[in-house]
C-alpha cells in the first residue's frame, strides 16, 4: 500500500518533467525548421530591397554600357540560360543512364562499390576544382578553348552526382511489384524499365534535374576559367563562343569593376535576376511534378 503510494507520487512528478522535456525539445525542433524559412526569406528580401530599383526594361534587354557601370545584363541572362540548360541536356541522359544501371541492372559486387565510391567523391569535390579540371581537360587538352561547350561540360560533371543521386532515390521508390508484374507478363528488363519504372520515377527524376539546373546556373567557380567572359556586348552564336553569366557578372562587378561602389545597384539587380531565375525554375518543376503525380493517380 505504502509502496504503491510512493510510486504514484513520484510517477506524477516525473510525468510533469517528462512532458516538460518533450515540450522544450519540440519547441527547439520547430525553431530549427523555422530558421530555414527565415534564412530564405531574409536572403530574398534583402536582395529584393536592394535590387528592385535596378530592374528596368532596359536592364533586362540591353548589354552593359560605359565599362559596365550602366546599361543592362541581357548577355548574362542569355549566357546563364545557355550554360544551365546545356549542362542539364548533357548531364540528364548520362545521370539517368548511370542511375538505371546502378539501381536496376548492376549486380552487387566490387565494380558497383567502386562506381558508387566514385560518384560519392565526385559529389564532394569543391566547385573551383571542377573549374580547374575543366580548364585543364576541356579548354586546353581537348582544345575547346574557353567556350560555352567547355563550360557546359564542366557544369555537367558538377551536376552529375546530384542527378544520379535523386534518380536513384526515385527508382528505389518505385515498388518492386511493378517490376514483377511487368516481367511476369513477358516484358524484357529494358521494357520494364522503359515502360513502367521510368514513368513512375519521372517526377522524382525531374526534381533532381531542376535542382541540378539551379545549382549549375548559380555556380561561378566552374565557369570562370572555362566559359565566362568579363565583358562582351554580343550574344553567343555558337557553342564555341564565350559568354557572360549572371553569377560571374556579380563577382566581377563586386570585386574587379571600374567603380565598385557606383555599381552596387547593378550588382543587387543582377543577383535578383539570378535568384528569380532559379526560384522560378524550381517553381515550374514543382508544378510540373505535381501535375505528373496527379496524372498517375
Amino acid at each position: 500500500m505504502e509502496e504503491k503510494k510512493i510510486f504514484e507520487l513520484s510517477f506524477e512528478k516525473i510525468l510533469v518533467r517528462r512532458k516538460r522535456i518533450q515540450r522544450i525539445l519540440f519547441m527547439f525542433f520547430r525553431i530549427a525548421a523555422f530558421i530555414n524559412c527565415v534564412a530564405l526569406f531574409l536572403v530574398v528580401a534583402f536582395i529584393m530591397l536592394k535590387g528592385w530599383k535596378a530592374i528596368t526594361w532596359e536592364f533586362l534587354t540591353q548589354p552593359p554600357l560605359d565599362s559596365m557601370t550602366k546599361g543592362g545584363i541581357l548577355p548574362c541572362i542569355i549566357g546563364t540560360l545557355c550554360l544551365g540548360i546545356g549542362a542539364i541536356v548533357v548531364a540528364l541522359p548520362i545521370g539517368v543512364a548511370s542511375a538505371v544501371y546502378l539501381n536496376e541492372y548492376a549486380r552487387p559486387g566490387k565494380l558497383l562499390r567502386l562506381i558508387r565510391l566514385g560518384i560519392n567523391n565526385l559529389a564532394g569535390v569543391p566547385s573551383v576544382v571542377f573549374g580547374l579540371f575543366g580548364l585543364a581537360f576541356f579548354v586546353i587538352w581537348l582544345k575547346m578553348g574557353e567556350s560555352i561547350l567547355a563550360g557546359v561540360l564542366t557544369l555537367a560533371a558538377l551536376t552529375l552526382p546530384v542527378i544520379i543521386g535523386s534518380t536513384e532515390e526515385a527508382l528505389k521508390a518505385v515498388p518492386d511489384t511493378y517490376r514483377e508484374a511487368s516481367l511476369a507478363l513477358g516484358a524484357t528488363r529494358w521494357q520494364t524499365i522503359y515502360r513502367v519504372v521510368l514513368p513512375a520515377a519521372l517526377p522524382g527524376i525531374l526534381t533532381g534535374a531542376i535542382l541540378g539546373l539551379s545549382r549549375a546556373a548559380g555556380e561561378t567557380a566552374p565557369i570562370m576559367f572555362t566559359a565566362a567572359v568579363y565583358y562582351t556586348p554580343h550574344l553567343p552564336s555558337s557553342l564555341f563562343d564565350q559568354v557572360m553569366a549572371l553569377p560571374y557578372h556579380v563577382y566581377v562587378l563586386a570585386t574587379a569593376g571600374t567603380n565598385i561602389e557606383a555599381t552596387r545597384p547593378l550588382q543587387y539587380g543582377t543577383s535578383l535576376v539570378l535568384i528569380a531565375l532559379v526560384l522560378s525554375m524550381n517553381l515550374a518543376a514543382i508544378v510540373w511534378r505535381s501535375r505528373l503525380r496527379k496524372k498517375m493517380k
Binding site: 511487368s182 513477358g186 513502367v196
Partner: protein, 255 residues
C-alpha cells in the same frame, strides 16, 4: 488416381537455395493439364518460393540458386537455351497483392500484348475486351476502361490483374494467394473465376486458406518446411490423408 498422360508440368528433384539457406528440398511433383492444383501449408513452408520457380521469378534474387528439373511439356525451363521472356509468356502469374500499373485499365490489360510486339490496334482492343470478360470484370468497368486502374476496388484490381495475365494467352496461370488481400465477396468472385478458367488453363494456386483449396482445386499438395509432404486429389487429401502430418495440418492441430 493421377492421369499419367496429362501432365502439363513435371518437377523433378527440385532444390532451391537463398544463398546458403535451403528453402526447398527435393521436390518432385506433376501438374495436370486443365486442372487446378492447390499448394497449401503454413507460412514459410516454401509454397510461394516453389511457385515462383515455375516462371523463374526467383531469377530476380541475385543470391538464389536452383537445382533439379522443371519440365514444361518437353523443355527444362532452367536450361540456358530457354528464353525467360518466352517462358513467362507461357506461364502467367497473379500476385498476392493486386499490382496494377499506374496507367488506365486498358493500358494495363494491353501491356503484355504490347511488350510482346503486338501493334494491331483492333486486335489489342478485342483481346483486352475478351480478357476482361473472361475475368468477369468487363460489365463493371466497360464505361471507365480509360480511367486509372488505381481507382478500382481491391477485388476489381485483382480481377484486372488476372485479365492482364490472360491477355497474353498463357498456358499456365500461377496464382500466389490471389485472394488473401480481398474481402469475402471479392474472394468469392475470384474463386468462381478460377472454376471457369480451368477449362482452358492449367492453374496452380498457393493459398493459406484450406477451405479455399478444398473449394477450387482438383489436386492439393501439402508443403511443410520446404518439403512436399503429400500430394493427392483434393477430395482424398482433405478426407483421407495418408500421413499424420497432413491430417494434423488440415484439422488445424498445427500451422
Amino acid at each position: 488416381m493421377i492421369m499419367t498422360d496429362n501432365y502439363k508440368m513435371s518437377i523433378r528433384h527440385l532444390n532451391f537455395y537463398y544463398g546458403a539457406a535451403q528453402a526447398l528440398y527435393d521436390i518432385s511433383l506433376d501438374i495436370n493439364k486443365s486442372q487446378v492444383t492447390a499448394l497449401i501449408g503454413p507460412s514459410g513452408c516454401g509454397k510461394s518460393t516453389f511457385i515462383r520457380c515455375l516462371n523463374r521469378m526467383n531469377d530476380l534474387i541475385p543470391i538464389s540458386r536452383v537445382e533439379g528439373e522443371i519440365i514444361l511439356e518437353d523443355i527444362d525451363i532452367n536450361n540456358p537455351s530457354v528464353d525467360v521472356v518466352m517462358l513467362r509468356r507461357r506461364v502467367g502469374m497473379v500476385f498476392q497483392k493486386p499490382n496494377p500499373f499506374p496507367k488506365n485499365i486498358f493500358d494495363n490489360v494491353a501491356y503484355g500484348l504490347r511488350v510482346n510486339g503486338v501493334k494491331d490496334k483492333a486486335f489489342i482492343e478485342s483481346r483486352v475486351e475478351e480478357s476482361l470478360k473472361k475475368a468477369a470484370l468487363w460489365d463493371e468497368i466497360r464505361d471507365r476502361i480509360h480511367e486509372s486502374a488505381l481507382g478500382l476496388s481491391g477485388g476489381q484490381q485483382q480481377r484486372m490483374c488476372i485479365a492482364r495475365a490472360l491477355a497474353v494467352e498463357p498456358e499456365i496461370l500461377l496464382m500466389d494467394e490471389p485472394a488473401s488481400a480481398l474481402d469475402p465477396i471479392a474472394t468469392q468472385k475470384i474463386e468462381d473465376l478460377i472454376g471457369e478458367l480451368k477449362e482452358n488453363y492449367t492453374i496452380i494456386i498457393v493459398t493459406h486458406n484450406m477451405q479455399q483449396a478444398a473449394r477450387v482445386s482438383d489436386m492439393t499438395a501439402f508443403f511443410y518446411m520446404g518439403k512436399l509432404i503429400e500430394l493427392d486429389e483434393t477430395d482424398t487429401l482433405f478426407t483421407r490423408p495418408r500421413l499424420k502430418q497432413t491430417e494434423d495440418y488440415i484439422t488445424g492441430r498445427f500451422g
